[in-house]
Amino acid sequence: MASDELERDRRLDALLDTVDSPEVSAPLRARVMATIPPSRSSLVRRHPWWSGLGLVGAATVGVAAGTLCMSLLLAPLSNSAPPGSPDGALSFRESAFVLPTTGMQEED
């Protein structure tokens, strides 16, 4: 009885072995390989100008940031007009009400 069941198992296995698996075709392999995400190093290798573009971008950002800092630092100084300039008449730094001390001395 047990040997009969073993024989049936063996026959079933032999039948199952007739179902083979499909071969991997070259187009399928290429399709799957195309899904591999490129690594960062290979991106630079494939597009070497990307690294140059990165440098230019960093330099541009640096120049812009520097310009902004300098303009903020120099902004208060630029408000003080040099003496004698037309803008000086509008400045509160030099008082328009100067006492005429020299004229008073001459009257004495």
């Binding site: 079933l12 039948l15 499909p22 075709s25 399928l28 591999i36 690594s39």
Partner: protein, 185 residues
């Protein structure tokens, strides 16, 4: 440890780190197994190729989440294949199971359910009999017999207990014997 040595562990770690050559090696090593499993589970060669492609896309995406204590890479990969197959079956309203049910319904009223198998080549008869199995029984059989996973590995891939795998296998083999041996010989 059950999975002490895993030949693919280093490879999957490199893939997680974005190593392109490791991914290429992984495709070379695993594509045939992935395609074979997908083909035997879903039954359609064209769909099996689409499944294989989807599987590897998921591998690239989730390689970082693989943990060596959880399962061997191969078992984890088989789990992904089954998940992709299930997703596609759900998306297509389980057309294969419906088809199999229709075949069963056509066969049941007749004198023998194996009428549909008569006149076909041996390979086609076996293929047809496999397709008629319920999905989970077919998966258990394909994983253990064709993919040569142990029952524990198949259980891990199917995310069920080892006892459940053994039960599915027993029922699958009993059904196949009835359909392929008893009536046709």
């Amino acid at each position: 440890m059950l999975f002490a040595k895993d030949p693919d562990a280093a490879l999957i770690r490199r893939i997680a780190e974005g190593d392109e050559s490791a991914a290429g090696t992984f495709v070379t090593r695993k594509l045939h197994r992935v395609l074979a499993l997908a083909h035997r589970v879903c039954g359609d060669p064209a769909e099996a190729e689409d499944i294989a492609q989807d599987v590897f896309i998921r591998v690239w995406k989730y390689a970082g989440s693989w943990k060596k204590d959880d399962a061997k890479v191969d078992t984890w990969l088989h789990r992904i294949v089954l998940n992709v197959c299930h997703d596609r079956l759900s998306a297509s309203h389980r057309r294969h199971e419906v088809g199999a049910m229709e075949l069963d319904m056509q066969a049941d009223p007749g004198p023998t359910p194996e009428d549909a198998l008569v006149g076909q080549s041996t390979r086609d008869r076996v293929w047809h009999a496999l397709a008629l199995l319920p999905a989970r029984q077919r998966e258990a059989l394909v994983l253990t017999y064709y993919q040569e996973l142990s029952n524990a590995e198949a259980a891990s891939a199917m995310q069920i207990s080892v006892d459940a795998v053994e039960s599915l296998l027993a029922r699958a083999r009993r059904t196949l014997k009835e359909r392929l041996l008893d009536s046709i010989g």
